[in-house]
Amino acid sequence: MIPAQPDVIDRVAALLQQFGLELAFVDPVSESGLAGVTMLLGQLEDSLGEADDVPQPIIMGMIAIRRWVDDRLAADGQLTADTIVRLHQWQPWMVEAVTAWSRGLAPQVVPAIWSKAVSSSVWGGAADDGPAEVPLTPSLPAVVPPPPPHQPPAPLQVKVLSAQSPAEAAEPPPAVPAAMWVASDECQDDQQVAVLPEQGDPEMLQLFCAEAHDLLHEIEQGILVLEGNPTDKPSLDALFRAFHTFKGNVGVIKLTTLQQFTHEMESLLDAARKGRLMLGRASIGLILEGADVLERYVTELAEQLAGNLPGRTIGLPIPRLISQANALLAGRTLPTAPCPTPAPPPEVQPSRADSPPPSSLVNEPPPAHPNLGSVAVGPAAAVATSPSVPRPPTKPAAATPAGVVRVDTLKLDGLIDLVGELVIAQSMVVQNPVLAAIADAHLSRSLGQLRTITSDLQKTAMALRMVPVRATFQKMSRLVRDLAVQQGKEIQLVLEGEETELDRGLVEELGDPLVHMIRNSADHGIEPPDVRAAAGKPRQGTIRLRAFHQGGFIVIEIADDGRGLDSGRILAKAIERGLVTRDENLDRRQIHDLIFAPGFSTAEKITDISGRGVGMDVVRRNIERLRGKIEIDAEPGRGTTFTIYLPLTLAIIEGVLVGVGEERFVVPTLSVRESFRPLPGMVTTVQGKGEVVSVRGRLTPLLRLGNHFRIPCRAHNPTEGIVVVIESGQDARCVFVDELIGKQEVVIKSLGDLFRNQNDFAGAAILGDGRVGLILDVNALVKLRHRGGDAAA
């Protein structure tokens, strides 16, 4: 037999070697080290899953070891002496089996006790089926092999892959896992779970939280796909794998209750994956609810880690969910209809009230480390925030996440600052007149190289701030689903361009406005199915959420095919609220703009979802704070489209560099409508002081920047200088400068307290030569009122 995937075999062989090394580190006394073993085992399974000609014995071997390990995980999360012995036997056997496979030789015989362990397995033996899962309540093989003369492994205390720190490993762990929960009689549905595990250093728990959020996110996405297509194999696999990883992770931090719970969820999915169970509405609701339980736990853990009342317990409906899962697995219908309705928000408030008395806790969990704030995935940030580090756009099902590292955002920002300074230092070196005078080809080549590297470095550093909008977008699918269920509407959310990258700060700020607008679309936009059908539209409404680049902007578009905006009603409402008067003659666009006015809401009844009248004005304000703008386009009966334009990043703007006298200023490119050298006759004076320019038939006031800033300028006659037309909203103003120097991307720096009362400058930037350039506050300049004859208003 000629192996089809030599690279798979190589990888498996390497993993087995690593596995042997890991085994050597397993401490037979404390019997810890399961985490490392589990992790490697998972990698082995993944690698083998890619090959489709895995010999049967290897499969059997994998099933056997997976069973041993899962048994231990399901028990106390510790390796027992005989498991260690078995692992020590398994590894060399597997190495040989893989060697035989690679040479195309006949495979070895599987040891009898292993196959015994496997025979009860549900796995039909399909080689490409990935990791095998056995049902819970496994029985250990009847025959336990006599322990072979096995040398104690090297007494190394350093755990390379183990999640436990050496110090912890040195201490004998408690024989019985910490009592994680105390079942209380007064609450039949909820099980009280202590949130902080008995041991595990805070840093590890932080990591757990961060990863758990990602996994839960994946889970949620998977479920939403399954809801539309319950047999979607990739989603089933991804979902299964996510639960599986989650189970491994809770095993590592020794949360037995949750581990058992995730195991049940996993079994359910496994059955679905293998076609033994058809996922119906009930099971999907159950899995979704399960994910919510996990999320509530993780959110609470994150909060306690942040020092917020550590030691609190949380009530989770685990027993009910487990029994429901078992019932589904047994092919029964659920005794009580599980709610596929919107899950409770990921808050733990209700459970706090019914915490058991502190005495019921066996041990006080260790208080969270106080200095953990920096990495904390805050509870509010929960799934909402994307990972702090840009992740390559991996598919949810991708087996290898291409090595993602989590970095403290403070460190990241520090790095970006430093790189910025390096670039400036570099340009100062390169432009140094002494160096420039040296006519040495070697030196100039080296300097050129330095410049290339620093600019590449800067680009890379800036890219670190960028994260895909995926996480924020996908959060919306859950929202839409819940809203649709709640209101009895049929709504489909179509996401496009999720891979579009945005500045991390922007992504975080974008969440709330998006939620608001999606809610508006679902609540006011999309009609109930019957109304839609009567109007000749498909019963299912569609909300389209798109992100794309357009001319230096990131554009986010929320389009629904609902009823659109009713100009008449908006206008009537606005008049009623006194926002406009009856005689004002507004065009359609201006009427639509009224919905952004503070306190405006046309919802006839105040629903739970939207219509409290604090909606779109907040959205607009948020977007404008991000230096973006929002536009609205609606067609009665056809739908509404909100378009948000955002700058690529918060930290950098593209600016037009203009010169006045010796000074240079940066005008944000977004605000520059055009610039030109005025022809004679284009500029007219008003009362001998003010000036207006005729731009395309419109008279626009002219502001001489030199006069305004009281700095000497070179150009006095309008035809000697340049007119830059800047705009803010609907208004525009012409700014007269000496020259246009060029376009440059600049990093925005704050001017600080001392300058907070001035309105001329929005900030400062370090220019290429190391000098500071001031960024004009276009908004203030456009709106500038008459002041001492500088400007004609």
């Binding site: 000074e663 800033f709 600080g752 001392l754 009362n757 001035q758 370090i766 500071v772």
Partner: protein, 176 residues
Amino acid sequence: MSEATPPLAARQNGHAVAEPGKYLTFKLGHESYGIPVLKVREIIRLCPITLVANMPAHVKGVINLRGKVIPLVDLRTKFGLPVTLDNERTCIVVTQIASASGGARLYGIIVDGVEEVAHFTDADLEPTPDFGGAIDAQFITGMAKASAGVKMLVDLDRIWAADCAALPDPRPPQPE
């Protein structure tokens, strides 16, 4: 503000009184001034200054301190001293003070040359005499008698706070 400004700042009626300690002394015109050495971040050469328009005369503008934009203040103008032409001894003392909005702020002071770091004991220090209205001494925390003459000790925090508060507000603040 006072907690963040060691080692001095025992204040009486809002007026700081100089405490013994190490001071960096520098020249402004022909006079010698001192500031607590713990407030000094670094001393740099004069560098290109970007003017910020419509600011009080003593706010010279902003400079680039290795990627940070920091304001630059000319104490000579502030104290009404004659502004001498910049020479090779002219330099910028970068100081660090607690800002009203929390955190430390850097700002630069143009001086006509730094002298030394001197240690002033209680015996060296004297409270600011009352000049009888001829001189506004609100920014002076005390006088130090040194071998080379008298040094006026400057209350940077007060100058900063006054600058931030007293600046003209030409237009109503815009909503952020």
